[in-house]
């Protein structure tokens, strides 16, 4: 546990440096762009726990993300709690959804499981469209406070919040990867039948993975209504979330916590740059092209590519 705490402290130190760097720049756009990139760090890391570590490809990331988003909308309209208080609630509800989805679908494998997750997002989308309390199809406005203590703006506050969430998400993913649970998940990914025969309780571990992954995706969605101030189903359930959550780990590398982090930072930043220099609509095109390139040329992602280069250099030198 001590080395996990050590990593967390190091990660928090890096987060602090990032914060100081953005504060030094002092431009609100950096917080806007940074928030989106960090949100994808959480989403990609969460997706990777089920998709990368366990090998179960989830197309329904937007559903879990939306649970977090609409939890905030409901709380905003009822109890008006501060965002940090909504985080565990949104996460919990998305985690329960993950557990339920896992229980119903984890007997399915491969593409059948993926289709079931896609269906879940569609079902949830329909429910939100028909739920007028949260705005239904027309959407809902969430007015954020003009000021917040200790921060220059509310967006800076949300940026810092997402920075902390991203740090915690990466820390949790690394801890899972190196734990007994992570080894069991890797065995499931490699060969589920052999994993059972080696004593791995596959169903239980897969349920833990869907729950944890869902929880983290839900948490990622909670601050969004205060960030965009207007949420509606077509934006919340947008293809962009599902595609990015999947493409970022695939491009970074799925077998390690570092892969989704690299993928999200790279793709997220690239998309933000493209938004201001080219057009907001080319984002998914960039992701699509990179995804096709990586899947065909470097299926183990940037990390796999790096490892292959290191191996080749070592072989040449040794």
């Amino acid at each position: 546990m001590r080395r996990h705490i050590g990593f967390l402290l190091a990660a928090l130190a890096v987060a602090l440096l990032v914060y100081l760097g953005t504060a030094w720049i002092g431009n609100d756009y950096v917080y806007f762009a940074g928030y989106v990139v960090l949100q994808y760090v959480v989403l990609a890391t969460a997706w990777n726990i089920l998709g990368g570590y366990t090998g179960y490809v989830n197309f329904g990331s937007a559903a879990f993300f939306a649970v977090g988003v609409y939890t905030t909308v409901v709380i905003h309209k009822t109890l008006a709690l501060p965002v940090p208080a909504i985080l565990p609630l949104g996460g919990l509800l998305a985690g329960i959804l993950g557990l339920g989805m896992g229980y119903l679908t984890l007997r399915l494998r491969g593409v059948f499981f993926s289709i079931a997750t896609l269906a879940l997002a569609i079902v949830l989308n329909s429910m939100i469209v028909n739920w007028s309390f949260v705005g239904g199809g027309r959407g809902a406005y969430v007015i954020r406070p003009r000021e917040i203590a200790f921060f220059t703006s509310y967006v800076q506050y949300l940026f810092v919040l997402m920075l902390v969430l991203a740090t915690l998400a990466v820390w949790i993913a690394r801890m899972v990867e190196r734990s007994r649970l992570g080894r069991g998940l890797a065995a499931i990914r490699d060969d589920e039948l052999a994993a059972e025969a080696a004593g791995v309780p596959t169903l239980k571990l897969k349920l833990i993975a869907t729950t944890l992954s869902g929880f983290m995706m839900g948490v990622a969605g909670v601050p969004l209504p205060y960030f965009v101030t207007y949420v509606e189903p077509s934006g919340t359930f947008s293809l962009g979330y599902a595609v990015n959550a999947m493409a970022m780990p695939l491009i970074g590398g799925t077998t390690s916590w570092l892969g989704p982090l690299i993928g999200a930072l790279l793709l997220g930043t690239l998309q933000q740059v493209a938004t201001v220099t080219l057009s907001a609509t080319v984002n998914l095109l960039i992701v699509g092209i990179l995804l096709v390139l990586f899947v065909t040329l470097a299926p183990d992602g940037i990390l796999g590519l790096g490892r292959a280069i290191v191996r080749r250099v070592r072989r040449r030198d040794g």
Binding site: R180, A186, A187, D190, D191, L193, E196, A197, G199, T202
Partner: protein, 237 residues
């Protein structure tokens, strides 16, 4: 005869209209070496799958060490003492040889830190030198050894070796055979499913023969292979 550690009674298994197992009784005594024979499609692997939990039997019951196990999932049966190897080796391809064994040690072998015991098991099967190699790089015979090492890591009372010698050279068959005999000497009962007759005859204290989902012979190896019904099943009328 020593006390039975596994007793399977009247095991039925159907796939749609096809009867794969029809009231098969199968027992293994403590420390016993049993050969399970039968032509292709006779139900050997289906029986193994029903015993270890990869398939649910439609009828009958399986008792291991006095406890009924046929409604338990595979991983719980493994923890109760019944381990298996696969006919086609199924290594965890993203892991090293050592990590493959550590998974079974962690989840089935009751180890809290697998690192210390894996080398001893790998040494027993002759894979210690390759412990840090990727399991993807192993040869066919080494993959079979890895299957055995992983099964041994679960600390079984009964090991079912499903065609662990298929496709191996005579020298490699002898190597695996010696390994299984050493394992048996340490107290583990072994069921060997095999088509290589000289290996079965050298290894088994008792032979059980399945044909078309039914048990047609069970007893002393020499007597069983001379059984007219067994001869008919293998050689025809």
């Amino acid at each position: 005869m020593a006390e039975a550690i596994l007793t399977a009674t009247k095991i039925d298994k159907r796939f749609g209209g096809f009867i794969a197992l029809d009231g098969v009784d199968f027992t293994v005594a403590a420390g016993e070496r049993v050969g399970l024979l039968g032509p292709n499609g006779s139900g050997k692997s289906t029986l193994v799958n029903c015993l270890t939990g990869a398939l649910r039997n439609d009828g009958g019951e399986v008792v291991l060490l006095g406890r009924r196990i046929d409604r338990l999932p595979t991983h719980q049966r493994i923890r109760r003492g019944i381990a298996r190897t696969f006919q086609v080796p199924r290594p965890f391809a993203s892991m090293t040889v050592r990590e493959n064994v550590e998974i079974a040690l962690l989840y089935a072998g009751g180890a809290t830190a697998a690192g210390n015991e894996a080398p001893a098991i790998l040494d027993q099967v002759g894979l210690l030198q390759k412990a840090d190699q990727s399991s993807r790089s192993l040869t066919q015979v080494d993959l079979r050894k890895l299957e055995l090492a992983r099964a041994m890591a679960a600390r079984p009372r009964l090991l079912i070796a499903d065609e662990v010698m298929a496709g191996l050279s005579t020298a490699e068959v002898d190597e695996i055979l010696a390994l299984l005999l050493r394992l048996n000497e340490s107290g583990v009962s072994i069921v060997m499913i095999e088509h290589i007759m000289y290996a079965v005859m050298k290894f088994a204290q008792r032979i059980c023969v399945l044909v078309a989902g039914r048990k047609i012979a069970d007893g002393d190896p020499q007597a069983v292979i001379r059984d007219p019904e067994v001869e008919r099943a293998y050689l025809g009328e």
